[in-house]
């Protein structure tokens, strides 16, 4: 673990793309890259989660290392010489992006298309997408029984959206298996362990125990999995329904940080609103009360704000309010 006060940390000197940099001992290569403003793609990495090295898109070439190393988890060492834009790195990143792009709906992943362009990824070359799986078939896949593609069509994880509760949906056609949701549900935050990765290889998928529906699972609807999902595979029902209806418009949205009104812990809520209506609630990851994580009440319990009794709003509940001396002006 790194020293909490960076002022006390020893400095480590390393080279990235032939530029020298000093960073605090315990930093990762990714942190060093970012300190030098080296554009490094990440998918499974998040500041408030333990790195799991699942996606491999951040790999860099380390002199003396047989394999490429994941920048997000590899700690810096003095004298390291790192290349972030070598042929090996570019090819590796290109393939990661290409495989994901051909098999997963990455339309909501921020920065994905720019990175594909940057590395020359062309998912189309694997052919047209195969037909989506029927509901539940991927959940029942047995290890070792996967059939190879016919070579003409691209295998995908496409399948119907799972809607089994009123708070959030699971659209596993968009799942890149980054493990972030599993981490947030597990030891990195919520410690509920309602989900894990089931299956092997291309059949691997995020699953509840025995693939039961969420209301029958251990899920406590903290929504911390949604908070860390980078692809929109896990989505608030409020957002899903608005996207479905074509009314979701981030250009019309405003957001600000406030404090949750439930209990006395004081969680920071980032409230996102569109047309003066709350559309979703998140929490900033760099904040030391929540570290980005909330409970069911904070994340989902805001509807009451938008379900006000008209008789109260009119000031007419139990008879009119007499404001005889002045007209009620609008607040400043």
């Amino acid at each position: 673990m790194s020293v909490s006060d960076p002022g006390f940390a020893r400095q480590v000197t390393l080279q990235i793309d032939e530029r020298s940099i000093d960073v605090p001992e315990g930093s990762t290569i990714l942190e060093a890259c970012r300190a030098l403003a080296v554009d490094t793609p990440t998918l499974c990495y998040l500041e408030n989660l333990t790195p799991v090295n699942a996606c491999r898109v951040c790999v860099v070439e380390l002199e003396g290392s047989r394999t490429l190393v994941p920048a997000c988890s590899r700690k810096v060492e003095g004298g390291m010489k790192i290349k972030t834009d070598s042929e090996r790195v570019r090819t590796s990143r290109k393939m990661v992006l290409e495989f994901l792009g051909s098999s997963v709906d990455v339309s909501l992943v921020s920065d994905f298309s720019r990175q594909m362009q940057r590395y020359g990824s062309n998912p189309k070359r694997y052919g047209d997408a195969a037909k989506p799986a029927l509901a539940g078939t991927r959940d029942g896949a047995v290890a070792g029984h996967h059939h190879a593609s016919d070579g003409q069509t691209a295998s995908t994880v496409a399948q119907p959206v799972k809607i089994d509760n009123e708070l959030y949906v699971r659209d596993y056609s968009k799942c890149i298996l980054c493990y972030k949701c599993v981490e947030a549900c597990g030891t990195d935050a919520q410690n509920t362990f309602a989900i894990a990765v089931a299956g092997r290889g291309f059949d691997a998928r995020i699953s509840t125990e025995f693939a039961v529906e969420l209301p029958d699972s251990a899920c406590v609807y903290c929504g911390n999995c949604i908070g860390v999902c980078p692809t929109g595979a896990l989505m608030f029902s409020s957002e899903y329904e608005m996207r479905d209806a074509g009314t979701w418009d981030e250009n019309k949205q405003v957001s600000a940080d406030t404090i949750c009104s439930y209990c006395g812990v004081g969680c920071t809520l980032t409230v996102h609103a569109q047309d003066n209506k709350i559309v979703k609630v998140t929490s900033p990851a760099d904040q030391d009360v929540t570290h980005g994580h909330l409970c069911i009440k904070g994340r989902f319990g805001w509807q009451f704000v938008q379900q006000r009794d008209p008789s109260v709003l009119d000031g007419l509940a139990n008879g009119p309010v007499v404001l005889d001396d002045v007209e009620v002006p609008a607040p400043a």
Binding site: N191, C267, V289, G301, V305, V312, L313, V321
Partner: protein
């Protein structure tokens, strides 16, 4: 405690302490994100002990669960103290240097032997001994509590009993050591800090202190009474006596939240005039003469709240309040104007700057710093002060800075609503993960976890009464009766029942409104009840 009404530690310290005691707190469900910090502590190697009559979701994470009998916490605390003393595990240096009244305290706990405590608390002597040793021997240890401690007729004594343990072992005033009430609402702490206590001004300055009064009187151009005002329970008593005839109720729903609901409703109905300022037509608002539509403070107005680690945090307006709903501050200023005081149209920041000018412990917390630093923990006396991570470090200065911390001897006394042959079960109340207080807010979202409100009892109790899951029963106390379905919960033991007050079931018809004379809090946690099968012919005997 020791002059400042707030938890002594920050959440960060929970992650780096060696032992955590959750006493009368089911933080896993009631303070879920605080429990995230507890979980980090556990993953870092801390031991967790949970003291609760129910084997809660929090207890399931514990190294040790002490299934204490409802309301026997003082006996448990005193027995832990005695065991620490018997084995010489107290911190003599700290006691001698930083505390007062130790000898008197030592004598008072003498009679709380392990055997005696086991009899009263129902906790096996070995478990009491284990906790006593673990707590005393830990380098760092924190005790946190919630309403399981404070909703009793001897609430303040129970808190004092816990503080005594921290003093006895020197587990206060150091990083990762302290005593912490987990606040139930987002601004319980801030409300108290601002002087919403009958004898306090902002920053815990006493109304009995002439110099403090003078400072506020000068700033406000008014006279402040040195007399203590009324607590909520005393207001209800004053209604009973006809002394209090008008009530201005802001964002509170006493019809549902007060103990002995029948009495509360009768007294509120008897008022000559009641103004309710709220966001929705609560059960209390239905009784009001006038309902003033308020903005939802947390998202439709600007301001600050203060959390359980004393952190003052910015609340920001994201959306406009609908209809004629207005910011609480604006409504109050308008009412003041009609009462002959023109306060103008202050912004939240204007009001906060006034707080800073009058309350020394808030003086260093400019809006700019609150924004930059994601809030600050009091005390923060000037703009160069980083705020306090933990309190009472002064007790470790040599010599001790300021007054020493006194022990207070406290004695166990049984819950007031005693169980007997007619009311043989003890009902305790609490919250559930997905719901909150009287349900005004949480009732509006669709939680997949929510099921119909039920009386929870143990499998043994269900068998004894011949009850099955979901069966509707009559639950009676000495004050009233409600009809609810039964839910069988293995977390309970014989003789113990559990309910919340989140839903339509008027649970507080049953509870007793006798209060702790020192805090004014009712004993929500202990109500003697009986369960009757419907149609068993015994309903009349239950005393409708």
């Amino acid at each position: 405690m020791f002059g400042a009404g707030g938890g002594t530690n920050s959440y960060e310290e929970v992650e780096h302490t060696d032992l955590i005691v959750l006493w009368g707190s089911n933080a896993r469900e009631t303070h879920p994100i605080f429990f995230h910090h507890v979980l980090k502590g556990i993953h870092n190697g801390a031991k967790l002990y949970v003291i609760d009559p129910r084997r809660t979701a929090s207890a399931q994470w514990a190294d040790g669960w002490l299934g204490v009998n409802v309301g026997s916490d003082i006996a448990l605390a005193n027995a832990i103290a005695r065991e620490i003393l018997v084995d010489g595990l107290e911190n003599r240096t700290f006691i001698d240097r930083a505390t007062l009244n130790f000898e008197e305290y030592r004598k008072s706990v003498e009679r709380y032997t392990l055997d005696y405590a086991q009899e009263i608390t129902g906790v096996p002597a070995a478990a009491i001994r284990e906790l006593a040793h673990a707590y005393a021997r830990a380098d760092r240890a924190m005790i946190c509590w919630t309403l399981g401690i404070t909703e009793h007729h001897n609430a303040v004594d129970s808190v004092v009993g816990i503080i005594n343990l921290a003093l006895l072992t020197g587990k206060v005033g150091r990083y990762g050591c302290g005593v912490n009430p987990l606040r139930g609402q987002n601004n319980v702490q801030g409300g108290g800090d601002m002087g919403a206590i009958p004898d306090r001004l902002a920053g815990f300055q006493s109304t009995a202190d002439a110099a403090a009064r003078e400072k506020f009187e000068k700033a406000w151009n008014c006279t402040i009474s040195p007399e203590r005002g009324k607590r909520l329970n005393e207001m209800f008593d004053a209604m009973e006596e006809g002394e209090l005839t008008a009530l201005y109720c802001i964002g509170e729903n006493p019809v549902v939240s007060e103990a002995d609901r029948h009495r509360a409703v009768r007294l509120l109905e008897g008022l000559e005039h009641m103004v309710v300022q709220d966001i929705s037509l609560t059960q209390t608002a239905r009784l009001a003469s006038v309902v003033l539509p308020a903005a939802a403070g947390w998202v439709e107005s600007d301001g600050t709240v203060t959390n359980s680690e004393r952190r003052v945090q910015r609340v920001r307006k994201v959306i406009e309040p609908p209809g004629n709903a207005r910011d609480d501050m604006w409504i109050v200023a308008q009412i003041a104007k009609r009462l002959g005081r023109d306060w103008g149209s202050p912004t939240a920041q204007d009001v906060w700057d006034e707080v800073r000018s009058l309350s020394p412990m808030h003086a260093g917390m400019s809006y700019e710093r609150l924004e930059q630093l994601n809030g600050l923990r009091w005390p923060c006396p000037d703009e160069n002060d980083p705020g306090a991570l933990f309190l009472h470090g002064r007790l470790w200065a040599d010599p001790v800075e300021g007054p020493k911390a006194p022990f207070h001897a406290v004695e166990y006394s049984a819950p007031l609503d005693a169980v007997d042959a007619q009311f043989p079960l003890l009902l305790t109340t609490g919250r559930r993960l997905d719901s909150y207080n009287s349900g005004v807010a949480t009732g509006e979202y669709s939680s997949p976890l929510r099921r119909v409100e039920a009386l929870e009892i143990s499998p043994e109790e269900a068998a004894r009464h011949g009850l099955s899951e979901g069966e509707i029963v009559a639950v009676s106390s000495r004050r009233g009766k409600v009809f609810v379905p039964v839910h069988i919960d293995r977390a309970l033991r014989e003789g113990l029942a559990f309910m919340t007050f989140h839903f339509d079931v008027p649970t507080n018809v049953l509870t007793l409104d006798t209060v702790d004379p020192k805090s004014g809090t009712a004993e929500f946690k202990a109500t003697a009840i009986r369960i009757d099968k419907i149609g068993a012919g015994s309903l009349a005997a239950a005393g409708d």
